[in-house]
């Protein structure tokens, strides 16, 4: 089954404010989209709508394929060592060999460190490791470059490129420059 993500004419309202409306996005296998826009225009909300975590105020989202989400919330138990905290999700995702990904994102040395002691960038690496291990075809990345050093930022770009080459979809919300295959950008502005 080919991965697919179609958002048709969606609008998003948070509280009393209409963040954006009339946003249409169609992604086939291999597509990458950069969602750009100033702080607070609704990039994260858009990703949560695409992930099915938030109901769109109007419009419809259709996806086929499992979704992998990386947002600002880590979902790893802060008091557990990183390896154990990641282990729960690996068990859930039926991952056989989680180790390869650890090497790729350079978190092998951190597996014994409790999650609460990790730096922002290290936490982001851990979240990306979980995403890679889940092998979901649709990636929704909310500010994946935050806190990462230059080298790790390049790694993320490479990972996204490889993911799309393998028939995956990536929607990346970021206020930073990120080079994605295809250079497709959707800008959200107020009432876009």
């Amino acid at each position: 089954m080919q991965a697919q993500l179609i958002a048709n004419d969606i609008a998003c309202r948070r509280g009393d404010r209409l963040l954006f409306k009339g946003l249409t996005l169609a992604c086939e296998a291999g597509d990458a989209v950069h969602v750009a826009g100033a702080n607070g225009v609704g990039k994260s909300s858009l990703l949560r709508i695409l992930a099915g975590l938030l109901r769109p105020f109007a419009g419809k989202v259709e996806t086929s394929g499992a979704i992998g989400l990386v947002d600002e919330r880590l979902a790893l138990d802060p008091n557990q060592p990183l390896g154990k905290a990641l282990g729960f999700w690996e068990q859930l995702d039926s991952v056989d060999q989680p180790g390869r990904v650890y090497g790729l994102l350079q978190i092998e040395a951190l597996l014994d460190v409790p999650v609460r002691f990790l730096s922002t960038g290290q936490k982001k690496r851990a979240a990306l490791a979980r995403l890679l291990n889940s092998s979901s075809p649709i990636w929704l990345l909310d500010e994946p470059l935050n806190g990462l050093d230059t080298e790790a930022q390049r790694t993320v770009e490479t990972l996204v490129a490889e993911h799309c080459e393998g028939g995956g979809i990536a929607v990346v919300a970021s206020h930073q420059q990120i080079s994605l295959p295809g250079n497709r950008t959707v800008s959200i502005g107020y009432f876009s």
């Binding site: 099915g52 947002d71 557990q80």
Partner: protein, 219 residues
């Protein structure tokens, strides 16, 4: 089934005494402290203690069941664990059923064990102690269920923990009435009614808690 077991193992690891996310043995110590303080407060009248001790144990158990509620749902909600489970297609209802089981296992068996020293401190007869134990066995699943539903409802609120305590008390009154009421009846009808209330609450609470999680996501 694999998902169920993974979730259960994680929840037990968090909530059991010695786990990283629960309140450890604190509810237990609180429960014993109440049983210990009561004779100091009312005096060493053995007959009075034996007559009222069962009810005191029930009240102590109810209050001890409130203590673990603060972190029962809040931590995972803030950390985004439920979101990550949702995108993996794990239903909130299943997550809450597992949380209910883990929550009960984390506080009730220890509470039942602690009932024995508490009963000894209050000078309860063997027969009364047996009735209290059976009643608590029947009633604690209901207390856990009420606690879970209220914990999930108040998880996204500021000062939710204090509110949770207040909300649990009226909802737990039926369990208390029949559970403690069994002490003054010759037959076991009170315990059976307590068990019936517990069953109904255990069936409803995960649904209510799951609805609360979904509502918290939209807010």
């Amino acid at each position: 089934m694999r998902v169920f077991l993974s979730l259960l193992r994680r929840d037990l690891g968090l909530l059991m005494p010695g786990g990283s996310g629960g309140s450890g043995v604190l509810p237990l110590l609180f429960f014993l402290a109440v049983a210990m303080l009561y004779p100091f407060a009312v005096g060493p009248d053995a007959a009075l203690l034996a007559r009222t001790g069962g009810g005191v144990i029930w009240v102590a158990a109810l209050l001890a069941a409130i203590l673990p509620l603060e972190r029962l749902v809040t931590g995972d909600l803030e950390a985004g664990v439920f979101d990550q489970l949702h995108v993996r297609g794990v239903s909130e209802e299943l997550v809450m059923v597992v949380r209910l089981i883990a929550h009960w296992l984390a506080f009730a068996p220890l509470l039942l064990v602690a009932t024995l020293p508490a009963a000894a401190l209050l000078g309860l007869s063997g027969e009364t102690t047996g009735t209290v134990l059976l009643g608590l066995l029947a009633g604690t699943p209901g207390l856990a269920a009420v606690g879970l539903a209220v914990g999930a409802l108040t998880a996204s609120l500021r000062g939710g923990a204090a509110l949770a305590g207040l909300m649990v008390i009226p909802l737990a009154v039926p369990i208390l009435i029949f559970g403690a009421g069994a002490l003054s009846r010759p037959d076991s009808s009170g315990i059976l009614l307590t068990a019936a209330i517990s069953l109904a609450l255990c069936a409803l609470a995960p649904l209510a808690a799951a609805a609360a999680l979904k509502a918290a996501r939209e807010s």
